[in-house]
Amino acid sequence: MTRTANRHPGLNLETDHYVDQPRAELTIFGFWVFMMSDLIIFACFFATFLTMDNPMAKAGGPGGAQLFDLTSVAIQTGFLLCSSFAFGLASVSMKYADGRGWTILWMAVSLALGLGFLTFELRDFASIWAQGGTPQRSGYWSAFYALVGLHGLHVAAGAIWMAVMITQLAVFGPHAVVKSRVLRLGLYWHFLDVVWIGIFSLVFLRALA
């Protein structure tokens, strides 16, 4: 089989999928414009956090080095990476028409891992909060909850979207419109894992190093 040229970023469906290709190209390009503007929003929250990461902005309160739990961050990182990979397998099973059962199975695995991530993140927030790391304590903690919370909200929105797509696949089957939505959800889900790389490196590991 010769390698067909990629027509748009992300996993490309083969031409026998009866998806209107120019339209798919356009909607996916539009989705990239959204993701990149979302990335700029994340970048501004990162900039805010970095400028708050100095002794003055901690206002004599605790910092990340005292309140972060490295093990829990490692578990969350593992959950999100495995979830991203599971979604990749869901996309591949959809592309090669392995039957909607496989796609739904991998998406369910991906969703469960994403929910595992959220559980550990909320547990972390509760523990940091209980030890005095509340948003009103200092600029540092305000910026922390804004940045990490914004990512958590994105993951929660992605989880809802994934539940909706699992339902649509189950009800409508691999219809062209449904497949195009699953491709975009895949890009969004991988994108959230990329943002998490920035968070675990710049927020957690930098504080604990």
């Binding site: 414009v33 700029i40 990476l81 990979f85 591949v92």
Partner: protein, 99 residues
Amino acid sequence: MNGKTRDILTYTLGFALAAVLTAIAFGAVLADLPRATSVPVVGLAAIAQVIVQFRLFMHIDLSRQKREDLHLILFTCLIIAIMVGGSVWILYDQATRMM
């Protein structure tokens, strides 16, 4: 090798590389290296992992078909560099002057 095997291998390679780079970053912190070593290691592992995930999970490459998308991503990087770099530079300078 058919297309399906190739696609699965792409994702598996991306997953393996991302896992190794994550382990390097966490390992540098766990090993209690001096901050001057561990922070650059974490930073470089992060940049490498972002590139790995963009290339192998999101299938961004330098081919002509996707030039527009690559331009979009590079322009976003420019905006981020100006805004984040500028804010951090100016405010760190202010902070050191106020110490």
